[in-house]
């Protein structure tokens, strides 16, 4: 808060009423919060797209490495299943990229644009502040002259001061009013602004996951001939591992 605190010991006439001050402050605070939140969301969304891309790349690596393994030359069935896996992973990557682009367009860029409004707001508030200072200064000058005895030169000065004060006060009033009117408007606009973004985000996710689900269902049908349940598979693995442990060439651990 940058309001000049009252000078101690000097009773001042309230230039700007307390309620007005409070309102102003409240609105401004809300907007400041929105600003912070927007920035944070922007940063987080960027991070999330990066994480998305990294994840996708890791998945492609799984299949890529296996495909390049010499095992594929020796075992034809393995080669087939690996190719299928690789294709699926690559498709997943492509879709992911698309999703990320979509999100970039519909969420991240608009976020940025929205953020660009804030500097102007901040500047406007600063200027109002300046205007207020000027106003206060001149007002105190006028009061000072008013308190002095009404001699000629004093009267002249008083008159001058009053003249000076008028435009400044008007300026301040104008700024104040402007901001007080426009800040709530700005604040309310954010909902309408973000809603489409958010909907687009959901839509992109839904599309992605449906597509992925389809791809992977196809894939499981392709490579899973045995169709055992997970439990059965686990047991089979355990059995095989025990078999291996029984071999003499394997170390006993």
């Amino acid at each position: 808060m940058s309001w000049i605190p009252f000078k101690i010991g000097q009773p001042r006439k309230q230039i700007v009423s307390k309620t007005v001050e409070r309102d102003f402050e409240r609105e401004y605070e809300k907007l400041q919060k929105v600003e912070d939140q927007t920035k944070k969301l922007h940063k987080d969304m960027k991070k999330s797209t990066e994480a998305d891309l990294a994840m996708s790349k890791a998945a492609v690596k799984i299949s890529g490495d296996l495909l390049s393994n010499p095992l594929c030359e020796q075992d034809l069935a393995f080669l087939e299943s690996m190719t299928a896996l690789d294709t699926a992973m690559k498709r997943m990557d492509a879709f992911n990229q698309e999703k990320v682009n979509q999100i970039q367009k519909t969420v991240i860029d608009p976020l940025k644009k929205y953020s660009s409004v804030f500097p102007s707001l901040n500047m406007a508030v600063k200027r109002r502040e300046q205007a207020l200072q000027d106003y206060k200064r001149l007002q105190s000058k006028v009061e000072k002259y008013e308190e002095k005895e009404k001699t000629g030169p004093i009267m002249v000065k008083l008159h001058q001061a009053r003249e000076e004060l008028k435009p400044v006060r008007e300026d301040f009033e104008a700024k104040n009013k402007q901001l007080l009117d426009e800040m709530p408007e700005f604040y309310n606009s954010r909902i309408d602004y973000f809603q489409p973004s958010f909907e687009a985000l959901i839509r992109a996710q839904v599309a992605y996951f449906t597509e992925m689900h389809k791809i992977f269902t196809e894939l499981t049908d392709q490579i899973d001939q045995g169709s055992l349940t997970d439990e059965q598979r686990k047991q089979e693995n355990e059995a095989k591992l025990n078999e291996l442990r029984a071999l003499s060439i394997v170390a006993n651990d």
Binding site: A51, A54, V117, P196, E199, E243, I249
Partner: protein, 763 residues
């Protein structure tokens, strides 16, 4: 078998003793074949002689003196020798045959009987010891007794067949050999397994020595067994160890029995040939069992030795022998490295090894990549949740709460968590333990390679047959063992790998399914999505503070724009009355008319429009230049360039239409004149007279001179020398470029750059 007592059937009571002797002897039989070859005569007491078997040990010690004699006799027995006994040449063939037949029948009887005993012993063992122990569940019965039950079964079958074979009363047609040939496969398998695990069983037994309660169990069982034996008159049972060793002894007895039988069989007996075959078979069984054990031993030995990594251990191992070995290996290795083919190759092994390596790589990579993937997924989901929270925070306010679809993000963490857990369980755990298992075979393969090198170098070198034989044996044993087991290993690994891959895919599929947000009504995609947002942005920009302040923030841009938009101040037109006044006031010859518009650029200049009337007051300017004249417009006075004025001819009120072209040139000329002013010292002679395309009137305004020399670069251009006079025909080139003027000089025409020219003033 008991050589000199073969004929004696009445040594029942000695059987016990014999059996004891057998035990000691049978123990040695494990190395029997080698024994024969090496002729070792010292006592070979196996390491795993169970300590409880005191009688065995004493027996061995006691019968030490007997051994040499015994072994000699044994050898005699084993080697095929003439059936005809040299001691009785006088006997006729028939008698010999008869004797043989008697012997044969006796041996057969013994065979059958001992088999029966053996089988019964096994049965008793099972019923009295194995089953109670199993019920008590204090010892690992399976590891102790391995496949005793199967052994018992096999023995029973053998017995049955033997009985069947001897059921035939005619001794000529009793075919024993066949029986063994038929059962050899089964026998081999069963006894192989038993013998293979016998060592372990013994070790286990030893470990149980310390445990008193188990010992109690043992004692109890054995005493029960002993009771039964006592009833049957076979007081020879000692303890668990001797129980366990029975099958081992039995299988080693077969060669001896069969050898004897064969010796006793006359050549013309139909059983001769089969017996011979059976004998070989049984011998082979024993060899196989030995070999099997040997392989296992070798593997164990090398596996164990590789585990010792302490420095002291390594130093201890260093001795001449090992150093020589290692240097030999190195040479062989280099030989191979330089392209010399090793003499010994095993294609199958190489294939298996290659497979082994690929599998290892595959498993390793899968583990790494899957964990990587998992990691990223976790990261992503945590950030996504964060995003949802942020968005919510922004939109949420006392006013309006839009919760549509927020739920999906929050629930998203659960399927992901499940994904992670299951992935770890089903895929990563088995794969990691699998990966650990690769290490040991790896070492053994390396060892085998070393052995191979040894063997190869042995083949080359002149080492003794013995050493060669040893190296070869080592290599072959290791090779065979590894080959067999690698095949198993690879197969199993492959299955596990495939399973894990399928798991991965299924898990991902499940995840994708679950991660779909359960949004019931997805709002219709707004085609005007961007428009909506743009419109909002516009509204925002219309907000006062934005407008003002964003302008302030973009000062430079704005100022540029403003400069362009500077409106040209209005030039007041001359009024009619002013003209009238001028006409009145001044003589005609002092009245001039503006040829064109002119803008005031210097101080005290005035802007005039074309056609306006002015009266000349002074034909000089304060600086003395005659190109600027002081004129009176009727309302104001100011300076105008003389070139803009022409004499006023009242008859000809020609209003020349202002040309955009000319106007432009005025502006341009203004700017150019300012630029020209900068480098031309002849500041008086500046402003260009507007090009009049029509009359080439030789007025002052078309005479210029070259301030600088100019070299024409092409046909269209005109070469100028310094201070050369030229006449301008056009004040622009064909495309309207003001910088090039069409000039004429000395009959030649060409374009010259405008800024090389200076105005001629005849003033």
């Amino acid at each position: 078998m008991e050589p000199n007592r073969a004929s004696g059937n009445d040594r029942e009571n000695e059987k016990g003793e014999r059996k004891d002797k057998d035990k000691g002897i049978k123990r040695r039989n494990r190395l029997f074949i080698r024994y024969l070859e090496r002729r070792k005569t010292d006592t070979i007491v196996d390491d795993d002689a169970s300590k409880g078997d005191i009688s065995i040990a004493t027996l061995v010690r006691r019968s030490h003196s007997d051994k040499t004699e015994y072994s000699a006799k044994l050898k005699e027995k084993m080697s095929p020798h003439d059936l005809s006994s040299p001691t009785s040449p006088a006997m006729d063939p028939d008698e010999i045959r008869l004797r043989r037949m008697t012997k044969r029948s006796k041996v057969i009887e013994e065979l059958v009987r001992t088999e029966g005993d053996h089988q019964k012993d096994l049965e008793l063992c099972i019923s009295e010891v194995l089953l109670p122990l199993r019920a008590a569940q204090v010892v690992d019965v399976d590891r102790l007794f391995t496949n005793t039950e199967s052994v018992c079964e096999v023995s029973a079958e053998l017995l049955q067949r033997l009985k069947y074979a001897v059921a035939d009363p005619d001794p000529e047609t009793q075919l024993i050999g066949e029986v063994f040939i038929q059962t050899k496969a089964v026998m081999e398998d069963v006894y192989k397994v038993y013998c293979y695990h016998h060592d372990e069983a013994n070790a286990l037994l030893e470990s149980y020595e310390a445990q008193e309660d188990i010992q109690q169990h043992f004692r109890r069982c054995i005493s029960a067994l002993k009771k039964i034996y006592d009833q049957e008159g076979k007081p020879n049972l000692l303890d668990m160890g001797s129980l366990l060793i029975k099958p081992v002894q039995r299988v080693m007895k077969y060669p001896l029995l069969l050898a004897e039988l064969w010796n006793a069989t006359p050549t013309d007996h139909p059983d001769n040939r089969p017996l011979q075959e059976a004998l070989t078979t049984v011998k082979i069984i024993n060899i196989n069992i030995n070999e099997f054990k040997r392989r296992k031993d070798i593997v164990l030995k090398y596996k164990r030795s590789d585990d010792e990594t302490s420095l002291m251990g390594k130093l201890n191992k260093l001795n001449i022998h090992s150093i020589r070995k290692k240097s030999d290996r190195l040479t062989s290795y280099f030989k191979i490295l330089t392209g010399v083919e090793p003499q010994v190759r095993d294609e199958a092994f190489d294939r298996e090894e290659k497979l082994f390596r690929s599998l290892e790589k595959a498993v390793r990579q899968l583990v790494k990549n899957t964990s990587c993937y998992l990691l990223y997924t976790q990261e992503m989901i945590s950030i996504a949740v964060q995003n949802a929270q942020d968005l919510e925070a922004i939109i949420k306010d006392p006013d309006k709460i839009d919760t549509n679809g927020f739920q999906h993000k929050r629930n998203g963490s659960d399927p992901y968590k499940q994904f992670k857990d299951q992935m770890e369980q089903l895929v990563l755990a088995p794969l990691s333990s699998l990966l650990g298992m690769f290490a040991s075979p790896q070492k053994l393969i390396q060892k085998r390679y070393d052995k191979l090198l040894d063997y190869c170098s042995q083949l080359d070198s002149r080492s003794s047959k013995e050493e060669q034989g040893l190296a070869k044996k080592d290599y072959l044993a290791l090779n065979a063992q590894l080959l067999e087991e690698l095949q198993c290993f690879n197969r199993a690994v492959r299955t596990i790998l495939t399973n894990c891959l399928i798991c991965v895919v299924k898990l991902i599929q499940k995840l994708m399914e679950a991660a779909q947000p359960p949004v019931l009504q997805i709002p219709v995609p707004m085609s005007n999505f961007s428009e909506v947002q743009n419109s909002i942005m516009e509204e925002l920009s219309n907000l006062g503070f934005f407008k003002e302040n964003s302008q302030k923030l973009m000062e430079r841009k704005v100022s540029f724009e403003k400069r362009d938009k500077k409106t040209v101040p209005e030039i007041p037109r001359q009024m009619e009355e002013q003209r009238a006044w001028l006409l009145e006031e001044y003589a005609v010859d002092r009245l001039y008319q503006l040829k064109r518009n002119c803008n005031a650029c210097q101080q005290s200049d005035i802007s005039l429009l074309e056609g306006e009337l002015v009266a000349l007051l002074e034909d000089r300017d304060p600086m003395g230049s005659s190109s600027r004249w002081l004129v009176h417009t009727g309302s104001t006075q100011g300076y105008v360039y003389s070139s803009f004025l022409k004499a006023y001819n009242p008859q000809r009120e020609v209003t020349e239409r202002p040309d955009d072209f000319d106007n432009l040139s005025l502006f341009v000329s203004n700017s150019r004149s300012s630029s020209m002013r900068s480098f031309s010292p002849y500041s008086a002679s500046d402003s260009v007279s507007p090009a009049a395309q029509d009359e080439p009137d030789p007025s002052e305004d078309q005479h210029f001179y070259a301030v600088y020399a100019f070299q024409a670069r092409c046909e269209q251009e005109l070469t100028l020398q310094e201070n050369q006079h030229v006449r301008i025909l056009q004040f622009s080139d064909l495309v309207g470029n003001k910088d090039w003027w069409l000039a004429e000089s000395n009959g030649q025409k060409g374009y010259v750059p405008a800024n090389y020219l200076g105005k001629m003033s005849y003033a």
